[in-house]
Amino acid sequence: MSSWADTVSSAPPPATTASDRGAISARGLRRTFGDTVAVDTLDLDVPTGAVFGLLGPDGAGKSTLIRMLATVLVPTAGEASVFGHSVTTERDAVTPRIGYMSQRFSMYPDLSVAENLEFFATIRGVGRADRRTRSQALLASMGLDEFTRRQAQHLSGGMKQKLMLATTLMHEPDLLLLDEPTTGVDPVSRREFWRILAGLHRAGKTVLVATPYMDEAERCTHIAFLDGGRIKQSGTPESIKALVPGRLLEVSATDPRAALAVVRTLPGVASVHLLGDVVRVLWEAPSEPVGPLTSALVAAGLHGVGVREISPDMETVFAFLAEADAPPGAGSEVAS
């Protein structure tokens, strides 16, 4: 589907030591805010070197989870460790090895790009020589080198995110905790951002990234789907896609809604939904679907009919899984 999926290869992460419990290991992690349960007794394992995607709707608990792992929020119950050190009792061993990027803009608006980098790096204990070389390299690789003197408040959305990322990278952490780093950013910048993440992955860094974008899930080595503070599904993209039985087809017609109505009635169809102006059909019968579908649609008097098979993408997979979870009669029309 996405051509840049292959930049994050499914090549195995670099070899690690035997005692490696993984970059992150959480057991029974729980966090409440008054009566609200944001994270509900969750277990999580993130292997070292993974690019781990946390997916889920708004309010699912992604931010809360990340903040607990970043030692910024104290869990109500349960425990978590980063590279073997507890986030609650061994903060000082954890924080030097992590970089945390929050959802809101966390740079000083009236300081320039260079000044922000300089400040946070100094606070992190990066030496002067290193500050210089690393900032040059980072700014260049992110395309920010022309904007070093510009104040952070005058950067575009995409540049702001890149600045934050650069800042978290100055002290060369082994684990990156990114909370929706690409939300509200234009597609080109998003692409660039993931290119950078791919580079980090190749260098052996571990990344935990929360994102509402399903297409970004394709680019992760592992994903977990969060809803209501719990992990509903987790695994590699392939294993999750495998959960969806059958084949995925895309049906186009001049009147997509009519097409939907027709296809829905056909035997062999597991589920249908509308995505933009095409109909996505999950075909669970072992027989060949293209022919019968096409003829059925033409027979119903529809024009501009086209049917083709596509490989399942995360969007569909999760829509299907969510549907499976939903109570009966919830309807099979999912807005795009």
């Binding site: 910024v72 924080t95 966390s106 000044e115 606070i123």
Partner: protein, 381 residues
Amino acid sequence: MMATLTRIGAIVVKEFRHLLRDPRMLLAVVITPVIQLLLFAYAISFDVENVPTLVVDLDQTQTSRTYLEQYEASPFFEVVAHGSTLADVDTAFDQNTARVAIVIQAGFARSLAAGEQAQVSVMVDGSEPNAAKVSQAYSVAINQLYTQQLTRQWADAQGLDLSSVGMLEPRVRTWYNPERRSSDFLIPGLMVVIIAIVTVQQTAVTLVRERDLGTEEQLEVSPLRKVELMVGKLLPWTLIAFAEVAMITGLGRTVFGIPMRGDFWALAVGAALFVFASLGMGLLISAVAPSLDTANILAMLIAFLPSFLLSGLAFALDQIPVVLQWISYGFPARYMVTISRGVFLKGAGFPEVWPELAALAVYAVVMIVISSVLYGRRARR
């Protein structure tokens, strides 16, 4: 150790950058204090002089005119108008053109010539109580002196016993401020207020701003310690406050000619302690304020009002209700005003002001400790 200093240094540099890039802040911190100082020192006074006086001479004789010369000669009264009827007095008071009116009844000269008491009415506008009180005193004094002169002349001429003519004459000496210039009295205290306002208000919002900006979290995942953050945030304001002390002292001496009679070092130490105490107060506000506006308002209430009214700057404190006096001891401004005035005007040194210095030191330490604890506790919910 090096790491701590490096981190504190980074915070200091950052804070100065914020300050320099915010023109309004610069205005508030640099320009406004100077304006306030000049305004207060130059314009304010409780001194009563040249009180506009209306004279109504219904006698119009040489005698009455001679008598009136007393008032014209006095620096205290300034005769601005001569009225012809009593109604003129009402008008003058109503329209605030005069605050004192002297009415000499017809027959003034005749009474005196006959050896009788001559009637003079002195009317004082009580709507300016200060001036009124002093006017009262002065007019009574003038009349007494004049009477004594008259009596003596008369008694001399008659060859009479003079023993009952003797009278006391007050000779007033004003210490520490012989010219009774308000600026001498006000500027040492004013310095205190200005610094208090600047430091408390700005530090109160500085920590809150960090929280609002979202940068607080980034600082939390770094090795930066709370104490380092606070020291780093306070140092720039400390430096600025010192600069203001120097500026105000300098201006005070060169422009206003305020004497420095005491031990400058006592003042310097006091100023340092006072700055820390005020900063501590600002920090405390910052630590407990849930939002920026609350911080603002609290800072205004706490820095401005008590510094101004309860510090002894402009209004004497020994006369106010005891409860308020106790409250005034709760604010560092009070101690600093005492030190400041003592050093400038009364020639005080360490032996005289050490109780106040000690009080400031205790205050500073307590404030900073409490705010560190509170700030640390609420930062990680």
